[in-house]
């Protein structure tokens, strides 16, 4: 009986250790350094740093970042970015990504929102997935446009 409990305990500890050190799901990411680049016609260009950190004990292959760009839940663009890198343990990768917001599209689809609020009160959302090994992990970033300095 005792032996069975030890086996179960050992398996539990091994599972926790595996999840902590060897699971791709522990990959950390963040979006930082949002900057205004330019406004040309109805298109506003921003740049944002997509930063990935590999805290696991294994090397992970990072593939494509595929995400939608949303303003107040209205899709205003897409991000498809190939990271294509092998990240060793404890390594950090930063990808400065340029994003374009078609404001004409926002105005067309969110006319009522514009009537009741200003662009500064809106939130920019990047939502999608990042390919890690052969799986994907969800990616999400909410950024209040009031924080943006021109």
């Amino acid at each position: 009986m005792n032996r069975k409990i030890y086996w179960l305990l050992g398996a539990g500890v091994a599972w926790v250790a595996y999840r902590a050190y060897y699971s791709y799901k522990n990959l950390k990411y963040r979006f930082t350094n949002v900057k205004f680049v330019k406004a040309q016609g109805s298109v506003v260009t921003l740049s944002v740093d997509f930063e990935i950190y590999n805290p696991t004990a294994i090397t992970l292959n990072i593939g494509q970042l595929k995400a939608g760009l949303f303003l107040q839940n209205t899709q205003v663009g897409n991000i498809v970015y190939d990271c294509n890198t092998n990240m060793m343990s404890k390594a950090v990768s930063i990808y400065p990504i340029t994003i374009e917001i078609d404001t004409q599209k926002v105005i067309k689809t969110s006319w009522d929102l514009l009537a009741t609020s200003t662009l500064q009160q809106w939130t920019l959302t990047i939502a999608g997935s990042l390919q890690v090994e052969k799986k994907t992990i969800p990616v999400r970033f909410d950024y209040p446009l009031s924080k943006l300095t021109l």
Partner: protein
């Protein structure tokens, strides 16, 4: 574009992370100044573009480590004018050239000890259409520069730019 020879003080007491930020700023702002250096390389194969830029730096720029706490980060034009620089300035020069040639460039900040946040060296990695080359003109093997080679490091911080 010619260097104007001005020195700009960014901060009096900078951290390692400040250096990375400044290297990025200098690259983003001045990578276009590398166009004259690569104008004769358009149309060459990617490997020969990488080799040309690498050997150009090895043969024309003398490596000199920044003295004490004064860290100089030079634009491509300034490095070419001075003919002297360290790994930071050399990697900005090489990355600017390769970026202007349409490559995806990565600044690789590396540590050689277990102090994960203390990056002591930087070099450029250029890639295009599945080909990737390490461009570290500071590295020496038997006192000779070596194309597509870098020492083993403990950990790295990559900053990647795609045109």
């Amino acid at each position: 574009m010619q260097a104007d020879g001005r020195n700009t003080l960014i901060t009096r007491s900078g951290l390692n992370s400040d250096l990375i930020t400044v290297i990025r700023q200098v690259f983003e702002q001045y990578n276009h100044t590398a166009i004259p250096f690569v104008s004769n390389l358009y149309g060459c194969s990617f490997r020969s573009q990488c080799e040309s830029v690498f050997w150009f730096v090895v043969n024309n720029i003398t490596y000199k480590q920044d003295e004490g706490l004064n860290q100089l980060i030079k634009t491509p034009a300034r490095l070419f004018a001075d003919k002297v620089g360290d790994c930071k300035s050399m990697s900005i020069f090489i990355a600017s050239c390769m970026y202007q040639l349409g490559a995806r460039v990565t600044f690789r900040f590396v540590t050689f000890d277990r102090d994960y946040n203390n990056y002591t060296h930087v070099y450029c990695v250029a890639s295009k259409d599945g080909e990737e080359y390490i461009l570290d003109p500071v590295e020496r093997v038997n006192k000779m520069a070596k194309f597509d080679y870098a020492s083993k490091y403990m950990t790295k911080r990559d900053v990647t730019y795609t045109k």
